[in-house]
């Protein structure tokens, strides 16, 4: 009963998500959108004008990473930065018209990929999958905290 990474479920899952990423990448490139940007565009559509720190938190990325992403997207005209009136440390990020256009396309791409990914899946199967994923996430998060935050010993 030796552990072999080749047969590990997380390995299969990585593989699936890599394939997913490749699909996204291939289908968005024609809209001048890069692989890391779709999620950011989606968040901005839901909530335009967020401050960078909050935006970074929501897309699950460090502020330093976001700075660089925003620089690139500002250069290519998808978003723009505007300083906050009352607090000059803060800069808020807004979609441009071009950004809103691109977002529509990207959203459609994501929808189509999702549809194809789960083609042949029943609603019950999707519910089961969601449940399993949630449990995996809880388990992994608990394990992470347990490792990083030393036990506040009894």
């Amino acid at each position: 009963m030796e552990f072999s990474y080749s047969t590990a479920l997380t390995h299969s899952a990585s593989h699936v998500m890599k394939m997913h990423r490749q699909n996204v990448e291939f289908l968005i490139q024609k809209y001048d959108v890069y692989p890391g940007q779709p999620i950011l565009l989606m968040r901005l559509t839901e909530n335009d004008g967020m401050i960078q720190k909050e935006l970074a938190r929501r897309i699950g990325v460090k502020p330093a990473t976001l700075t660089v992403m925003i620089n690139r997207m500002a250069k290519s005209g998808l978003v723009e930065r505007r300083a906050d009136e009352r607090d000059q440390r803060i800069s808020r990020v807004y979609l441009t018209d071009k950004g809103r256009q691109a977002t529509k396309h990207v959203k459609e791409v994501l929808r189509v990929i999702e549809e194809n990914c789960f083609s042949g899946f029943s609603d019950e199967e999707k519910d089961v999958l969601r449940g399993l994923l949630d449990r995996m996430h809880s388990n992994l998060q608990a394990f992470y905290l347990q490792n990083t935050q030393p036990t506040s010993d009894l």
Copy 2:
């Protein structure tokens, strides 16, 4: 019935895998192993002395990417390159003693994370998950081929 990425299953799955990566990263750093290297180490353990092209294919990475990874791992002493005798274009990659040591630790880390990730899962649930993941992968691969390889129109 609008599509929203926040509620998409693939979004949840990305999230789970990101958490998984964070766990791996945190637990291997003490062995001087970087995030991309575990899978490479595992493959080399199974099959030492592969040529770079084949190794790249197996870990799902482009040859150019592998070149850079091997450079770093050779520098840190985990692997070594040896030229093939009969074909001077080819270079084969071997684990060093240090590499074998590191691999043992990494394998244990991956095993423990896997164990924790699926703690509370029954064997049936794991089987179900594997089945769902396989179907997702087939679907995504088919969709990718369909998009990239233009239909050899009837």
